[in-house]
């Protein structure tokens, strides 16, 4: 039997008030707020963050596979999983796969990983689900969607925090949502049709089959972590299954996060596990052209995971986006002149991938100086080709800084309003690193400010996406 060895999550820093959206476009507000990726984040970078959170306390080299689920991959053709694996410093002989095309991709990835573990072809598989879906401005989805990521480490290990007892699945060729090759935004013909004949039929059927198979009553389940496209539809799933919506339905996180696509029911599963006690059962169910249901039972090890991961504590760590205009800009719905760096080189990026992505520095074997970036000759003593790569700390303090109003990605070059803060950081291991800040307000940056590194999109060039590390103020409330 496969079990869950660890979990992690990531919710971006930014929130947009639904009242503010509604006020700006003259529509009705669905209340609360939604999580929004920064301009330099996408499903891949969020997936990295969730993966790092999940792997806290685990050796990345022990992982045999990485499954990445998303319907908002930064590349239509190019695997995200292999890139995420490199960033997370996993081995190169592992099995990686992108699950996509359906909002069920997250649970399908969990199912496949679990099957592989049961079959004995892999021992530990990291499953990451992340979505930052684009919503047509002025559409309902603009309010209902949220951005976020979740990660589960599955394995045969002796001490899972939860056992994955079983799966059941139902497929259902309901029309939506869909997105053609040339579409930017997912479409739904009529959400009411989808909810009535899809969601409210498929989840109860998949879950009902699972409970029936194991002769378990709904009342014996402590939490149901169900996908839902909006708060009202979500609550409606409870009735046919005879679930007490108040006590048994895991909160949809609609008021605080929004619906995070393929990640969402797994995110709710993590939220449930964060509260679960030993031997409690959780049922997690996705929805998308059908439904997958997972029956999960917490073990006494579930207590040990509590407090070890950031998980849904990310939700309380937030900053509000000040206006609808800025929301559209940060979601790249309006062209604010996102900079391209004319000198950027895919070749250089490829050549140095081994230390750029997992963030290694080098330590000189002669003088001992820890330094970044990795080069052949030591910048301190001049020793040639005599150094070791060292994984760098991802926390530190600001030594000095500036706010560059003239040039930089993340703001609108030369507009004189939104500067890029640049910080020189003394990492906890003593390495000096010069980085751009993100997710911050100018007032937060000072000598001595505590920062942590975060994996982001750096810039685009030649229609290629260049990823790397930035610094952010240590996320509060975590």
């Amino acid at each position: 039997m496969a079990g869950i060895l660890s979990y992690g999550a990531y919710i971006p820093m930014w929130r947009m008030s639904r009242d503010e959206i509604a006020k700006s476009i003259g529509s009705a507000s669905l209340g609360g707020e939604r999580a929004v990726v920064s301009w330099d984040e996408d499903s891949l970078t969020m997936g990295v963050e969730a993966g790092l959170d999940c792997l806290t306390g685990f050796q990345p080299k022990e992982i045999d596979g990485l499954y990445f689920a998303t319907v908002s991959s930064p590349f239509k053709e190019k695997q995200s999983a292999s890139l995420v694996a490199s960033i997370l410093d996993l081995r190169k002989d592992i099995f990686t796969f992108d699950f996509t095309g359906s909002l069920r991709a997250g649970t399908l990835a969990v199912k496949s990983a679990s099957d592989a573990i049961k079959a004995g072809t892999m021992k530990k598989v990291l499953v990451i689900a992340a979505d930052a879906r684009k919503a047509q401005p002025r559409s309902d989805a603009e309010q209902t969607f949220g951005d976020g990521a979740v990660a589960l480490l599955l394995g045969e290990g002796k001490d899972p925090i939860a056992e994955i007892e079983d799966f059941s699945t139902i497929i259902d060729p309901i029309p939506g949502p869909w997105r053609r090759e040339e579409d930017l935004y997912p479409k739904v013909f009529d959400g009411r049709l989808d909810t009535r004949y899809g969601l409210l039929k498929d989840i109860p059927q998949a879950v009902g089959n699972l409970l029936k198979k194991h002769s378990i009553q709904a009342k014996d389940i402590s939490k149901f972590a169900f996908y839902g496209p909006d708060a009202r539809s979500h609550t409606a799933i409870a009735a046919p299954l005879k679930i007490d919506a108040k006590s048994q339905m895991q909160d949809l996180l609609f008021k605080s996060v929004g619906v995070t696509g393929t990640a969402h029911c797994l995110l709710l599963l993590v939220a449930a596990m964060e509260q679960a006690k030993a031997n409690e059962r959780i049922v997690c169910a996705s929805y998308g052209e059908g439904s997958d249901a997972l029956l999960i039972k917490a073990t006494d090890k579930v207590e040990q995971a509590k407090g070890k991961h950031k998980g849904t504590k990310y939700i309380a760590s937030k900053k509000m986006i000040s206006s609808y205009g800025r929301f559209l800009a940060i979601k790249k719905e309006i062209d604010v002149g996102w900079p391209e760096w004319e000198k950027s080189s895919v070749v250089k990026y490829w050549r140095d991938e081994s230390w750029l992505l997992p963030l290694y520095g080098m330590k000189c074997n002669k003088c001992g100086a820890l330094q970044y970036p990795v080069r052949r000759v030591c910048t301190n003593c001049g020793e040639k080709d005599n150094n070791v790569k060292v994984k760098l700390a991802r926390k530190g303090k600001v030594f000095t800084f500036t706010h560059d109003y003239l040039l930089g990605p993340g703001n609108f070059t030369g507009d004189g309003i939104n500067p890029t803060s640049r910080v020189l950081i003394d990492l906890e291991d003593g390495c000096r690193i010069w980085m751009e800040m993100t997710d911050h307000e100018i007032e937060e940056v000072n000598i001595g400010t505590s920062v942590e590194l975060t994996f982001r999109l750096l810039h685009q060039k030649s229609d290629f996406l260049f990823y790397g590390w930035r610094a952010r103020p240590v996320r509060q409330s975590i």
């Binding site: 000198k343 301190n380 500036t402 003239l406 040039l407 890029t420 003593g430 010069w434 751009e436």
Partner: protein, 390 residues
């Protein structure tokens, strides 16, 4: 043992175009003006008398070659070399030209520099690429230096007002220089209230990208006497130092001193036989690309101790009538910084000062002074010392 350049090379002619926006001229037109003015002052015929020429220009980054000057001047069949060493390009052209004369390979040579940014599609303040690697930050030039100001504020209690005083002083001087780009006096409030460029540097803490050309004619003193009598200056020392282009990543970097300047100053002072620059020199022209750079340079050029740079500007020591005038010409603050031209112009300004020809901004009884260029992220420094012969 390396030999010293001291008094072996004479500057006999200088040419400086007006610095500013030259919409109606191209780089070649500016070179033609600067070089011909320098030849006229040197009493030489460009085609007949010049043996070799060095030209410095930064843009278009690469591929410019010696044609940058040979083509517009139609100076063919001679050795013409393009020099590029970031913001120190101009002075490095002079340095290389001087060595050729001192080595007796050539008798009369020209060093010139030009920059024409309007023709590059560029605009306003410099936007540069620092690390040449797609995963390392790229940033504006002021953001190279602003973090140093933050450290100086923290360590020494310097303030934005101290920085502003540098701009005010240089604008006072430059207002009187006929060739300067910006000829308007400003106040401390002008600087403090200007738009922020790279915190804590505002628009007026920064020099502008400008356009212009400058040229100097170099020869040996015995030839100089024949051509211009005693109206020549001699080079006392020229040094260049290249430090890391990744200073922020360097372990132990403080932001309180620019290693390239320190090293180039030591070398140039040694070559010139100077042990106490504050006493033995009369003035200096420093690379005030940003106001913080000028204050740091006071220290790195050993005019005062570390931390005392702001005291020099507060006490008026570096004013044109002070104990040690700095940037009597108005500096980069008033000339802008046409990268290739700047260093050459500085050597021309030193020459004019020691010959008493610095109209409008003459330092009283200037016998010997230094010029200083600093390029990239404090990575490349050139120092030249020019004085009256002997």
């Amino acid at each position: 043992m390396p030999e010293s350049l001291r008094d072996k090379v004479a500057v006999i002619g200088t040419g400086i175009t007006k610095f500013g926006e030259h919409w109606e001229e191209d780089a070649g037109d500016l070179i033609v003006d600067a070089v011909n003015d320098a030849c006229k002052e040197a009493n030489i015929d460009l085609r007949k008398d010049t043996d070799a020429l060095w030209v410095s220009t930064l843009y278009d980054w690469s591929g410019m070659s010696g044609w940058a000057a040979a083509e517009p001047l139609k100076l063919f069949g001679k050795p013409v070399t393009r020099v590029e060493n970031q913001c120190a390009s101009g002075m490095d052209a002079v340095r290389n030209a001087a060595y050729a004369v001192a080595a007796h390979r050539y008798d009369i040579v020209i060093a010139c520099g030009v920059e024409k940014v309007l023709d590059q599609g560029g605009r306003g303040l410099s936007q540069e690429i620092l690390y040449w690697h797609p995963s390392l930050p790229w940033q504006s030039a002021p953001a190279y230096f602003a973090p140093c100001a933050i450290r100086a504020f923290k360590e020494w209690g310097w303030t934005r007002e101290d920085l502003a005083k540098v701009a005010v002083k240089n604008h006072q001087n430059g207002a009187k220089h006929p060739k300067a780009h910006f000829r308007r006096e400003i106040t401390i409030e002008t600087v403090l209230n200007a738009p922020m460029i790279s915190y804590p540097l505002t628009l007026f803490d920064c020099c502008a990208l400008s356009e212009g050309a400058a040229a100097v004619v170099l020869t040996r003193p015995e030839i100089a006497k024949r051509l211009v009598g005693d109206k020549y200056a001699t080079i006392k020392g020229m040094a260049l130092a290249v430090e890391t282009q990744w200073p922020y990543f360097k372990p132990g970097w403080t932001g309180l001193s620019f290693a390239a300047t320190v090293r180039a100053a030591e070398d140039a002072y040694k070559e010139a036989g100077i042990t106490n620059p504050r006493k033995e020199l009369d003035f200096g022209i420093v690379h005030d690309c940003f106001t913080i750079t000028e204050l740091m340079t006071y220290q790195d050029m050993k005019l005062c101790k570390p931390g005392e740079g702001a005291e020099l500007i507060r006490a008026g020591v570096t004013a044109i009538d002070g104990d040690f005038p700095i940037n009597p010409d108005g500096g980069l603050k008033c000339f802008g910084h046409p990268v290739g031209a700047t260093g050459v112009r500085m050597i021309a300004e030193l020459t004019k000062q020691v010959l008493g020809r610095a109209e409008g901004c003459q330092v009283k009884d200037a016998k010997m002074g230094f010029a200083h260029n600093l390029g990239g992220p404090q990575a490349i420094a050139a120092v030249g010392i020019v004085g009256r012969p002997g």
